[in-house]
């Protein structure tokens, strides 16, 4: 299949960006990233700079293959990452527009690669549990309700790719932060620090300059792991409860 790609090129956060148009000959069995590889090999053969894009696992678990494809983070299919998107979902002769995540707190490093260390700092602020090392306790001695474990697991499927921020018209990181808070706070081991964690992670999220949530649910629609905005409601409740109700 013959495709026309309009790809965003930019050398750095403060450099001007522009679209570059390329033709590529792809196979419908290729993944989107393989199609990008073909394009880059062609560029290298012509002694041109290949298009910078992030990738690692290529199986939907690392959260690095981030691009906005025809206006949708990770492309048109729901519940998939770009590396899991196959070219059979595109038509021969189609023009595909590829852009980087756009949000103030995700400055562009090069082309389609953005700096997501703001997410790391949100995690550093409290996205962990402080357990001392030593003998692991027998798993069966901690009773966890099945539903709760399921909810925590659903939230834990977040791969931190940032599609929520990319999809949000406000560039808000609420879905990411809420998913992390839920996955830790719903389980007994994480519940201990839940109240302080909620405050420190939300504070860090605000400090990073992410927008507020207008409840448009664009994040949920484009999340490759289909994480629900129910988590955001849970976080709001926990944040208000923690600030107003706890000693800290």
């Amino acid at each position: 299949m013959k495709l026309t790609l309009k790809v965003w090129r930019q050398n750095g956060a403060n450099e001007p960006g522009r679209f570059e148009t390329h033709q590529v000959e792809a196979d419908e069995h290729m993944s989107f990233l393989e199609m990008m590889d073909v394009l880059n090999e062609g560029l290298l053969a012509e002694k041109k700079t290949p298009i910078a894009f992030e990738h690692d696992c290529r199986e939907g678990i690392c959260g690095s293959c981030n691009m906005v494809i025809n206006g949708r983070p990770h492309g048109p299919n729901s519940g998939t990452t770009t590396c899991q998107l196959h070219m059979r979902y595109f038509k021969d002769g189609e023009t595909i527009t590829i852009e980087p995540w756009r949000a103030k707190s995700f400055p562009i490093i090069k082309d389609l690669v953005v700096d997501r260390t703001s997410f790391d700092r949100i995690i550093q602020a409290g996205g962990y549990i402080s357990v001392n090392t030593g003998q692991a306790q027998d798993g069966n001695s901690i009773a966890i309700e099945k539903d709760l474990a399921g909810q925590a697991f659903d939230a834990a499927t977040c791969i931190g790719c940032g599609a929520c921020v990319a999809a949000c018209p406000n560039g808000s990181a609420m879905l990411f932060t809420a998913a992390k808070i839920a996955h830790l706070g719903l389980l007994p081991q994480g519940e201990v620090e839940h109240k302080t964690r909620v405050q420190s992670m939300v504070n860090q999220m605000d400090e990073e300059g992410f927008g507020a949530c207008s409840n448009t649910a664009a994040c949920e629609a484009d999340c490759p792991k289909e994480i629900s905005i129910t988590n955001i409601a849970m976080m709001n409740r926990a944040y208000m409860g923690s600030v107003l109700g706890s000693q800290k």
């Binding site: 756009r102 707190s105 406000n170 649910a217 664009a218 629609a221 484009d222 955001i232 709001n236 944040y239």
Partner: protein
């Protein structure tokens, strides 16, 4: 910064303000509509004018009304501040816009809100201001009541003989409906009230409210216009 101020200026705190003031306005609209439907009574305005007299003179209602003005202002200022902050947090726009299945009016809340504010200025300038601060309203008295009240009913009826104003009211209510279509359920989500069992009911109630309340309001100018 005090912990409370920090809370109110956090992204969740700012939305809490939007949600609580929004829900207050939602409650107010029900009361406002219930009272104003008396404008449809065929009694030369007796029930409406005595009701209007009560509303402008009862000390409890008067106090509440100052709260109302304050909450409208707070909702407006906070809403515009959020819209500016959120636009800044997005930075640049995509060349191709998304067609994901999202509630599109959520992103247009600030625009819709500003239109509502413009409508409120026209609306209050026409009736509230004339009622409270001018002597342009005639006085009337009714059988069995030895007191004169301002004839706001006739002022309203006269205003609604103007087709341009009627069109402004129709548009104003459509805009309000769009604001509430997203806003009603959004306020609950902001408060953290999202529950598998109750959220579908809140969404349904919100949509019913967003249609029925503006519809109720819009009947009043239409009825007065077409009964002439």
């Amino acid at each position: 910064m005090s912990w409370f101020l920090k809370f109110l200026t956090s992204s969740i705190g700012q939305k809490l303000i939007m949600s609580l003031t929004g829900l207050f306005l939602i409650t107010f609209l029900v009361v406002h509509l219930a009272g104003n439907l008396q404008l449809l009574a065929n009694d030369q305005g007796e029930s409406f004018n005595t009701y209007a007299y009560f509303m402008t003179n009862n000390p409890f209602i008067k106090t509440t009304s100052y709260g109302l003005y304050f909450f409208i202002l707070l909702h407006t200022i906070q809403g515009i501040a959020l819209a500016i902050k959120n636009r800044g947090a997005k930075g640049s726009k995509y060349a191709v816009s998304s067609n994901a299945k999202t509630s599109s009016s959520g992103t247009k809340m600030a625009l819709l809100g500003t239109l509502i504010l413009a409508f409120l200025c026209i609306h209050m300038g026409d009736f509230w201001f004339k009622m409270k601060f001018t002597d342009t309203l005639a006085m009337v008295s009714y059988d069995g009541v030895d007191m004169q009240v301002k004839d706001l009913y006739s002022r309203v009826s006269l205003a609604f003989s103007n087709p341009i104003l009627v069109v402004v009211y129709v548009i104003g209510q459509i805009v309000l409906a769009m604001h509430l279509w997203h806003g009603f359920q959004s306020a609950f989500q902001t408060l953290g009230l999202n529950h598998r069992k109750y959220t579908p009911a809140i969404h349904f109630l919100g949509k019913a409210y967003a249609i029925l309340i503006p519809l109720g309001f819009v009947i009043i100018p239409l009825a007065h216009f077409f009964s002439k």
